[in-house]
């Protein structure tokens, strides 16, 4: 089924110089392979095409069920040079969670139950 990434993951973002970092975390272990398959460097680059002028790097953290992205040249120079409202990339995380992905229905419904507190999550 087609869903927004936020149904199966949470995220946090910040800055590293002129690069934004976005960490994406699967709500359950079984959702991790979906992240690996769907949330690729290419798709993340497309999603942030309006701000990301450099390359996108992806790192895998299977131990935490997480992916870490570095979006180079995305913060208008970064730090105090930047004129951007979000010069520290704080809102990149919630933006990425709007990404449309394909996911198996049973995984999505398990994740829904994690969100409501019925299941414990990772």
């Amino acid at each position: 089924m087609k869903i927004r990434l936020e149904r199966i993951a949470i995220a946090r973002s910040g800055d590293k110089g002129d690069a934004a970092n976005v960490g994406v975390i699967a709500l359950i272990a079984d959702a991790w392979p979906i992240l690996v398959r769907e949330v690729t460097e290419a798709r993340v680059g497309e999603h942030f095409a309006a701000v990301c002028k450099g390359r996108v790097e992806r790192f895998e953290l299977p131990n935490l069920g997480a992916l870490n992205f570095l979006l180079h040249e995305s913060l208008g120079g970064g730090g105090t040079v930047s004129l951007m409202l979000d010069a520290q990339g704080k809102t990149f995380a919630s933006s990425l969670l709007e990404l449309e992905i394909e996911a198996a229905e049973e995984i999505v419904s398990l994740c829904d139950r994690v969100r409501t507190g019925e299941l414990p999550g990772r």
């Binding site: 936020e6 309006a50 701000v51 131990n63 935490l64 995305s74 208008g76 999550g121």
Partner: protein, 461 residues
């Protein structure tokens, strides 16, 4: 001995963080150490400027009344403080603290250590002469290209001087540009007697430090998991409970708000992360892909399995240099057609700047409320949403090497109120402020060139 737990509590995640947090950490339950992180990349250049104006300034001033007020309780409970509040003037920070403590009755004099030597400003030229080029890690350029504009230069130093200060029985350790994570792992190395090459245990301390260094961001602040459900009115900040074997628990005082779960801790672990297998600190390289995390329930998360590798021969240097001027201002346009009005105002503004012949390195326009945050844009709005926007903030920023051009820009926003599109408001704050840009120059330097000049000195009030 192996059962002994050392508790390091986080009290500040940045300069400007919640002032009640450190007090609550001390007063609400047992802790052994209180760490307070005040410094960000930008902070050092601000402090350097303050010190130029006033030789007694250049440190995080909030620290002084906070610690002075807490001193009777710190001494009474045997809680020690480790903080980088010293900024570019740790000695001045201690003098101010001693003055403040003098008026407070305490059971014995407060012993305060000052760690200095991270500040490279005074010996920058001799370091360059000795062949330390301090090339920009991103562009590869040598520092000599911007030498005359350097405003601050500080090496990120590690645990050794803090450990020495604790051995000398300091109650409070004030440092300059200590690495954020070292404020947590230095007391852990000291208490558990870990060897300087015990890379795995030091790496565990680094992970603990990363969790502590952003305060409530590890305990439910800024969380995207059930953010509505977290009580953040009086959140407990994180507390690390470290065992001698390098396994630890993340928790908070039970009587405070906030939340510690797999979600809040994992979110903080990935915050500001680069390559997770190469988390470089002055004292080891931590591998975040080895972290094993288990949610024990009741606001306790267990961390184990952390592996580390040998430290590098280099230290990172944080250099700030003057790089021109900038200003940002805004106006608010109301419906109907709020976005169209803001777009028109921007066009008029840009045309006027053009007619004046002003040169800018960059003019950036954002439409707040219509898609100014990352990954969003007014162009992506469905027509119905675009039409329905009740108001839009036009936000324009400029950057230039020419201060006069930026100054003139700040005078071109207000005229749009009468000589621009209708339904405009939101200019109460007045003309935008011209700010000098302090650009960041990350570099590396041989560890020995810095560490031979580090000094630790303890005295009492």
């Amino acid at each position: 001995m192996s059962e002994r737990i050392v508790r390091v509590a986080s009290g500040q995640g940045f300069w400007g963080d919640w002032q009640e947090a450190p007090k609550l950490q001390v007063r609400t339950g047992p802790i052994d150490y209180l760490m307070l992180d005040y410094l960000a990349e930008i902070t050092m250049s601000i402090l350097q400027k303050q010190r130029e104006r006033d030789p007694a300034a250049g440190f995080a001033r909030d620290f002084v009344p906070l610690i002075a007020g807490l001193t009777p309780e710190l001494l009474g409970r045997g809680i020690r403080v480790v903080s980088n509040a010293g900024g570019v003037n740790p000695g001045g920070c201690r003098r101010a603290l001693f003055e403040a403590v003098a008026e407070i009755p305490t059971s014995r004099p407060l012993r305060v250590a000052v760690v200095s030597g991270d500040d490279l400003m005074d010996r920058l030229d001799s370091l360059l002469e000795d062949g330390h080029e301090m090339r920009n890690m991103e562009t590869g350029e040598p520092l000599s290209t911007v030498r005359d504009r350097v405003q601050a230069a500080n090496a990120y130093i590690g645990a050794a001087p803090i450990i020495e200060a604790l051995r000398m029985e300091a109650d409070v350790v004030i440092t300059g540009r200590s690495t954020d994570t070292a404020l947590t792992y230095a007391p852990l190395i000291h208490e558990h007697g870990w060897a300087a090459d015990d890379w795995d245990r030091i790496a565990a301390g680094v992970v603990a430090g990363h969790i502590n260094e952003c305060g409530a961001q590890a305990t439910g602040g800024n969380t995207l998991f059930d953010w509505r459900g977290v009580d953040l009115e009086a959140p407990g900040y994180p507390i690390i409970e470290m065992a001698a074997d390098g396994t630890f628990k993340v928790t908070k005082h039970a009587d405070l708000g906030g939340r510690v779960t797999w979600a809040t801790v994992t979110e903080q672990l990935v915050y500001e992360m680069g390559d997770p297998v190469e988390y470089i600190t002055p004292d080891c390289i931590a591998d975040f892909s080895t972290i094993q995390l288990r949610d024990l329930g009741e606001n306790r998360v267990a961390i184990s399995g952390v592996r580390g590798r040998e430290r590098t021969g280099m230290l990172k240097v944080s250099i700030a240099y003057r790089d021109g001027w900038k200003a940002t201002g805004s106006l608010v346009y109301a419906a109907p057609d709020a976005l169209d009005k803001a777009i028109r105002a921007d066009e008029i503004l840009r045309a006027r700047l053009e007619r004046l012949g002003l040169k800018f390195a960059e003019i950036r326009t954002e439409f707040v409320g219509a898609g100014a945050c990352a990954g969003r844009s007014p162009d992506l709005l469905p027509e119905a949403v675009r039409q329905g926007l009740p108001e839009v903030e036009l936000r324009v920023g400029v950057r230039s090497a020419d201060r006069d051009a930026v100054e003139r820009f700040t005078r071109e926003l207000a005229p749009l109120i009468l000589a621009g599109p209708p339904s405009v408001t939101g200019f109460a704050a007045g003309r935008p402020r011209v700010q000098e840009i302090m650009a960041y120059w990350p570099a590396l330097i041989d560890r020995d060139a810095v560490e031979r000049d580090l000094e630790v000195e303890v005295s009492h009030a």
